[in-house]
Each structure stands twice: as structure tokens, then as C-alpha cells.
């Protein structure tokens, strides 16, 4: 089924962004700058990939650029104690302006910028295995950054649950004063979490432009926001994020295909993924509610 194959490709950027967002979420911060960080990564990676001719350098420098902007965001939010919501909005605004201004200064265009010389994202192709139904669609025949997403997910799960860093990140989110009383600086973990989100958003962004060998202003098109939703929908766990982003990718993929054979107007179908998700979410909370009512709910509010 191509629907599934495409769903996996579609979900990859917001899966990656959500992984970084998960870290900030676990330290107790609402990170709405994911969108802007992705945009920075998208722009920088294709520019550097084209300039150096190296895919690896492109992605790496794209990630570094995104991390730098994430650092600015963290500095304003943590050090200057700005409201993280507004500094997040400001980061998004900055990213949308900066990418275009830089594009104009560097390439003289504010529209689509083509990088025919940028390296193509290689597909990982294992023809024999791709023919396996469903599993083949899920795991093979994607571009190499999709696999980076899988790796990051596994890595994130290990870091969060199996390393001291992850333990401290989670502790910071639960009660930062406890972490502080143990001689750690909770802010430094929040900073690191933001930098991690910069890292994965940079990678997520690079996927969007290296895919096309071109940069289009606003190419992220709301994927950072979807990533935010994915984090919540995934109940703030790596596995949950994986499932939630697949649900979202699948819904988008279906709506793409549905346009071809359904009589429903296109704009209406576009709303489809959101409606599915919100219904799923309400359904999930209902299930959770009734289950917890049955099980260990000591206080009913």
C-alpha cells in the first residue's frame, strides 16, 4: 500500500521535531518555537549542502544553525526570563524573516531557490524486502533522513529512560526545586533540552529541503505545530510519539489519496487529519477516563 509508504515519509519531519520537543516538554516547557527552528534548519541545510557538495556537511551545518537559533531562544527565555511562549512566537517570526532576507542577500530571490547542485537524498532501497506487504512499506525504500528519524527516536528513548541525563530531565519537569536542592541547575537541563530540540528540528528541516533540492519560503508549513500536537497525543513518551505521528502521517496520506476519488471538496478533505486527530484524542481521553475511574483513581475531582 502506497498510502502507508507515503505516511511514513510524511510523518518523518514531525516525528523528528517532536522528539526534540519531547525533551523540552519533559523539562516542563511548552516549546512553540519548533516551527521556526525547523525553518532555520531547512534553509541552512540546503544552502550548506549545495555550497559544500556534501550531504553530511549540509545536514550537520543545518543542524548547527538551528541549534544556534535555539540557543538564542533559550538565552532569552531562561536567562532573560522572558515568557517562553512569546519568545517562541518571536523565534518563529525571526526564522520566517531571516531565512528570506538571507536568501535574498545570498541568492537574490525571495521566492523558490533552486539548488540543482545540492546532493540528492539517497534512498535506502532493498528491493527484495520492499515487497513484503506493510512491513516493506514501513521500513524500506525511504530516504536516508527518514532512518535518521528512527535512529533519533531510539536514541531519545535510551537517553530519556536509560541515562542520568534523561533521569535529570524528567526530574526537572516533575519538580525543578528538587533538582536544584540536589546541587544541579535545572535551568541548564532546560537549556540542554532546548538545544536538543534545535538539533532534531534542524534535522527535520533539512529533510524538507534536501528532499527537493530547493528552498521555498515557509516550507515547514505548520509541521512544527503538528509536532507539538504529536507530543501531547503521544502522551509524552517516545513510543507514543511514534504512534501519534504515524496516525497523523497516515491521516494526511489518506487525505492526499482521497482527493482523487472522493466527491468531497478538496478544502474540506484538508481538514480531515485534524478532525480525525481531535476525535481520536477525545476518544482516547474518554477511554483513559473510564479506565482510570475503574482502576487506581484515588481522588475524583
Amino acid at each position: 500500500m502506497n498510502v502507508i509508504h507515503n505516511a511514513v515519509a510524511i510523518m518523518a519531519p514531525f516525528l523528528l521535531a517532536a522528539i526534540g520537543g519531547l525533551f523540552t516538554e519533559l523539562t516542563g516547557m511548552l516549546n512553540i518555537a519548533l516551527e521556526g527552528l525547523m525553518l532555520i534548519g531547512a534553509f541552512a541545510s540546503v544552502v550548506f549542502a549545495s555550497a559544500t557538495g556534501s550531504l553530511f556537511l549540509g545536514v550537520a551545518l543545518g543542524i548547527i544553525s538551528s541549534v544556534l537559533v535555539a540557543y538564542l531562544f533559550a538565552f532569552v527565555s531562561l536567562r532573560l526570563k522572558a515568557n517562553i511562549f512569546i519568545s517562541g512566537l518571536a523565534t518563529n517570526l525571526l526564522a520566517s524573516g531571516l531565512t528570506v532576507v538571507l536568501a535574498f542577500k545570498l541568492f537574490g530571490s525571495k521566492g523558490v531557490i533552486h539548488f540543482p547542485g545540492a546532493p540528492v537524498l539517497p534512498l535506502v532501497s532493498v528491493p527484495a524486502l520492499e515487497r513484503i506487504p506493510i512491513l516493506g512499506d514501513l521500513f524500506f525504500g525511504h530516504n536516508i533522513l527518514v532512518y535518521l528519524g528512527w535512529i533519533c527516536l531510539v536514541l531519545a528513548a535510551v537517553v530519556i529512560y536509560k541515562t542520568p541525563f534523561g533521569l535529570r530531565i524528567r526530574a526537572t519537569g516533575h519538580d525543578s526545586s528538587t533538582v536544584e536542592s540536589l546541587g544541579l541547575n535545572p535551568q541548564s537541563y532546560q537549556l540542554k533540552a532546548i538545544l536538543v530540540s534545535g538539533f532534531t528540528c534542524g534535522a527535520a528541516g533539512s529533510m524538507l529541503t534536501l528532499n527537493l533540492q530547493a528552498f521555498v519560503p515557509n516550507i515547514t508549513a505548520g509541521r512544527g505545530w503538528i509536532a507539538l500536537v504529536v507530543i501531547y497525543l503521544g502522551n509524552k513518551t517516545p513510543l507514543g510519539i511514534l504512534i501519534a505521528s504515524f496516525v497523523f502521517g497516515f491521516a494526511i496520506s489518506i487525505s492526499n489519496y482521497a482527493q482523487g476519488f472522493m466527491e468531497i471538496p478538496a478544502d474540506f478533505i484538508l481538514a480531515f487529519p485534524y478532525i480525525i486527530t481531535v476525535v481520536a484524542m477525545i476518544g482516547y481521553s474518554a477511554v483513559r477516563h473510564y479506565r482510570s475511574q475503574k482502576l487506581a483513581m484515588r481522588r475524583d475531582r
Partner: protein
């Protein structure tokens, strides 16, 4: 050679204009238990926060074992071998004991990964070495307050601290747990640890500490050996004048029942064991009924049931003969039932709201004029309360900026001003200094004189014994003992009931025979006996390591 030597410590809070520490000296010898006593706001906690690096002194110096040190943050303190148990536990509730203990000093494998087994082992080792009884794999959320405190101490010991600071360590503990704690502390000094305790409970200080530093209004006023002073002198040093700790409870003739519970049961959602199990009792006009027990044995649930915050599964509650079972809090208040909650910072007040907004929560509708507040009347009401109860603050000050004592006074004044015929107090003096506690006690007794029916729920045995006309003990959701408080009761006897060591009570807590036993007692029976039987032995071992 003193182990900890703090000299001329000053700390000024410009925003509130308070000199929390004003040239304070503290000298603690090695392997002694040193108590710092003083009223709320005397600056004890500030001084210890400075020693632990949570706050920085404006001036002064700190020497450890004769060497001057700079403690900028808790990391420095930990490195220097200082550990602190805070009044409010600093534990991550969803984590296990081992995770909490090793947090920030994790056991690692391959340099980067958490080593769960090593963490478990290391925690286990500390637990065993110092004679605790904890399961390293247990989740904090499942522990009792006493166990959490033990975890806090284990946490410090795991960090190889030589100096342990404990801030009000007994405020959440029951009598037996306090004794366990003190045994532990004494044991620790034998193993070479130095212990600093912040407290305002003089009897405890006298029984555990070697020396005492007294603080008053930001200054250290005296240092004494405990075997050279008595608590009268200490309290004189603390408060500035001699007071007699204690209060007089004159005889009273109880009137008709105001509040009565009949076979009230609340099931736990998991269905293991009822939170409240066939509880029946009544409170009569002009009497104080004391209710005590260890946290987690149904006291909190009872508190919520009586206030309408929790629904009962079976049984009946009557107020002056009117069935108020599962009535809303609002309705109960309208009926004249007032309530001073134990959790005064979360349930009893809204810290970010003003004093006035806190005062009007129960009487808010009486200030309405066509749906709008009559601001003048509201302010007049507020000012009168502040004046009448001589609370020294302004109406528009945020509640959170006040001291614990003032907050409790405001809550108390709000509840008492409602002219209720039934008042429930839950841990009314928890964490308060002697003077504030005295004040609260006198108010409670005043209510009793004005023929209100009073239910006093408290973990503080002295308090319950001192105030109650009748006294009930709860264990595992059941009333396991009811006593007329005729002056012959001993703490020890009550303690045995509290811990479930004795369970010979079969009556229905003096309902004057009104109880309708038919309701809701069919489902208790067999299961229940099993659980209590099986559980009580485990419970004992939890609380007393011997």
C-alpha cells in the same frame, strides 16, 4: 574544633524589607545533635538555606572543620559533605526510591548509561548500613510520610554527607515515627555524623539535641546545652517572655448531637481496601472530639467526607437531623459547617490572591448587590476581621507573602467569623510556632465555650490529648478506639491503637444508640478482617525498624 562554624551571617530581603539573618552565629560540634529553635520567621530556615547554598548570605563567613569555605549553591554544599532534608520533601513522586536516592549522583555503566542494578544495590547498602527499612524499588508516591523522610535521609547518606540538616523533621510524623527518627539520628551520630535540626517543638528538642541555638527575630540569642536548661527557659529565650506551655480546658456539658455519621464507608477505586470502613460517630454541641491516626489511615478521607469534598459509597451523614450525605461543600457551609483544612497552602487559601479575596471565599454571596460585589462592604468586613483577630496585614497583600502563622490566622478567622455550629479543624497548628499555636488553641476553646460542636483531626498527640473531650483513633479506615479524655490516657496507649497494635474496639463511637446499623455494613465483613489481619503486621514493621 567545631565542625560547622557560621559567623556574622547577614541576609536581607529587600523586596519585603525583612532582615532574615542579622549577624547570626552558629557553632556546631562534630558528632553532636544541634537544634536550632525559634518562632516562625525567626530566620532558622534562611540560615540553613545559606549553609546549604540555596541562598547566599550578604555577609559573614562559613568554616567547615576550621577551614573557610564558599558555598555558592547546593552542589558546593554536597561536595563539602553537607546534606539537607527540607520541611517539604524534595522527592520526585513517580520515581523509585533508588532513582531518587541516586539522582544527580547516578550509578553508571559504560560511562553513559544508568546502572539500575548498581543504583539499587547502592541504595540497599545505605539502607542496610544505617538500619532503615525501605524497598529501593518502591515508588515514592506509594510511601508514607515517615518513609519519605527516611528516603530523604538515605539520600543524604548516599552522598556521604557528614553534616545533616533537618528542617522541622517531625512535623509530618506520628509519635512512634518520631521516636524511630530520633533513634536513627542518635545512631547516625555514633557513626560520626553531625546533625542540625530545626524545630520549634521544645520537648522534642530537649529529648534529642545535645545543644541548642536559639534564634529570635533574625538574631541568634543564646546557645545552651540541653542538660543545663529546661523548656521553660528555652521558650523564654525564644519568645522573649516566660509562657506556660499548655492550656486549660474547663469542664463542659455536651449538648445534643450536631453532626453524626452512620456507617460511612468509602471504597478505594482499586477495590483493595475501603478508605473509610463503617465509620460512625457523632459530635455534640459544646464538645471537642479529637480524631487521630497516622496519615494514610483514613483521616484525610474523613476530613473530605465531612466537608463534602468526597462522596461516600454508603452510610449517612446528618447535620442537626438533616440528611446531608453527599451534599455539596457549598450547601454544608450554608448549613453552618465550618472547616479549617490541614493543607492550608493549597486547600485553605489561594496564595496568589489577596488577603481580602481569601477572606470572602465562604461569605462571597453576602456582598452581592444585583450580581455585583459591594466593594465597600467587602472591605469593611475584611478590615473588621483583621482588627478583631488582630492580624497585622493589609487587605490587598497577596496571601503568599505572609508567614505561615498569619496565613493560618486568616483562615481561622474566616472560618470562625461564619458563626457556625460545627467546626472541623484539621492539624490546625501544623508547622506553627508556640505563640501561634497557643493563639489557635485559645480560639478553639473559645468556640467550645460558645457551644459549637468541634471535630479536631490531628496527628499531634499532645494537641489531641490536651484539647479533646473525647478522642478517637483511626486505623486502616476504621475507628479502632474511642476514649473519654479523663486525664488518664497516655500517649503510649493511644500510640498502640494508632499503629494498629491493639484493635479491641467494637463499639460504634458513642452514637447514643442512634446508629442505623442496617445501612452499608453488609459489604464490610470478611474481606476486611483479612486485610487488616494481614496488613497490620506489615504496617508495624514499616514503622519500627527493630
Amino acid at each position: 574544633m567545631p565542625s560547622v562554624d557560621m559567623r556574622e551571617i547577614c541576609k536581607y530581603y529587600p523586596e519585603s524589607g525583612v532582615k532574615a539573618n542579622d549577624y547570626v552565629d552558629l557553632s556546631v560540634k562534630k558528632t553532636e545533635i544541634h537544634a536550632i529553635v525559634g518562632e516562625n520567621g525567626a530566620g532558622k530556615t534562611t540560615l540553613m538555606n545559606i549553609l546549604y547554598g540555596l541562598e547566599r548570605a550578604d555577609s559573614g563567613r562559613i568554616c567547615l572543620d576550621g577551614e573557610e569555605v564558599v558555598i555558592r549553591n547546593p552542589r558546593d554544599a554536597v561536595r563539602l559533605g553537607i546534606g539537607m532534608v527540607h520541611q517539604h520533601f524534595k522527592l520526585i513522586r513517580p520515581f523509585t526510591i533508588a532513582e531518587n536516592v541516586t539522582l544527580a549522583m547516578e550509578q553508571r555503566k559504560y560511562g553513559v548509561l544508568l546502572d539500575r542494578r548498581e543504583a539499587w544495590k547502592a541504595t540497599e547498602k545505605v539502607i542496610a548500613d544505617f538500619g532503615f527499612d525501605l524497598d529501593p524499588g518502591a515508588k515514592i508516591a506509594d510511601l508514607t510520610a515517615g518513609q519519605m523522610q527516611q528516603v530523604e535521609i538515605v539520600k543524604i547518606l548516599y552522598r556521604h554527607a557528614d553534616v545533616l540538616i533537618l528542617d522541622e523533621p517531625t512535623s509530618v510524623l506520628a509519635e512512634q515515627q518520631i521516636r524511630t527518627l530520633f533513634d536513627t539520628l542518635k545512631n547516625l551520630t555514633c557513626l560520626g555524623k553531625t546533625i542540625i535540626i530545626i524545630s520549634h517543638k521544645l520537648d522534642e528538642v530537649m529529648s534529642i539535641a545535645d545543644r541548642v541555638t536559639v534564634m529570635r527575630k533574625g538574631k541568634s540569642t543564646a546557645v545552651r546545652n540541653t542538660d543545663e536548661v529546661d523548656d521553660k527557659e528555652l521558650s523564654r529565650l525564644m519568645i522573649g517572655k516566660g509562657i506556660t506551655y499548655g492550656f486549660k480546658r474547663d469542664a463542659s456539658v455536651p449538648g445534643e448531637p450536631v453532626l453524626a455519621l452512620y456507617n460511612v464507608s468509602v471504597a478505594e477505586r482499586t477495590g483493595h481496601r475501603p478508605l473509610l470502613d463503617n465509620v460512625s460517630f457523632s459530635v455534640r454541641a459544646g464538645e471537642i472530639v479529637g480524631l487521630t491516626g497516622v496519615a494514610g489511615n483514613g483521616l484525610e478521607e474523613l476530613e473530605e467526607v465531612v466537608n463534602g469534598l468526597r462522596k461516600v459509597d454508603s452510610g449517612r451523614i446528618e447535620h442537626r437531623g438533616l440528611d446531608v450525605t453527599n451534599a455539596s461543600s457549598y450547601f454544608l457551609r450554608e448549613q453552618g459547617m465550618a472547616y479549617v483544612p490541614s493543607d492550608r497552602l493549597r486547600r485553605g487559601s489561594s496564595l496568589s490572591s489577596s488577603v481580602l479575596e481569601n477572606l470572602i471565599i465562604t461569605s462571597r454571596r453576602s456582598f452581592l448587590n444585583r450580581g455585583f460585589f459591594r466593594r465597600k462592604a467587602m472591605e469593611k468586613f475584611g478590615r473588621e476581621i483583621l482588627k478583631h483577630y488582630s492580624i497585622d496585614t493589609d487587605l490587598y497583600v497577596p496571601m503568599g507573602t505572609l508567614s505561615g502563622g498569619s496565613i493560618q490566622k486568616i483562615i481561622l478567622s474566616r472560618e470562625l467569623s461564619a458563626q457556625s455550629d460545627f467546626i472541623m479543624f484539621s492539624d490546625p497548628t501544623w508547622g506553627l510556632d508556640v505563640a501561634s499555636a497557643e493563639y489557635i488553641y485559645s480560639r478553639i476553646l473559645e468556640c467550645r465555650r460558645s457551644r459549637a460542636a468541634i471535630l479536631l483531626i490531628s496527628n499531634d498527640l499532645d494537641e489531641v490529648l490536651g484539647l479533646s473531650d473525647r478522642l478517637m483513633v483511626m486505623h486502616r479506615g476504621k475507628v479502632v478506639g474511642v476514649f473519654e479524655n479523663d486525664g488518664t490516657l497516655s500517649k503510649e496507649t493511644i500510640g498502640e491503637y494508632i499503629l494498629g497494635l491493639r484493635n479491641d474496639f467494637k463499639g460504634d463511637a458513642g452514637n447514643d444508640g442512634q446508629a442505623t446499623m442496617g445501612r452499608g455494613d453488609g459489604n464490610g465483613g470478611g474481606i476486611d478482617d483479612n486485610v487488616v489481619g494481614g496488613g497490620s503486621s506489615r504496617d508495624c514493621s514499616d514503622l519500627s525498624p527493630e
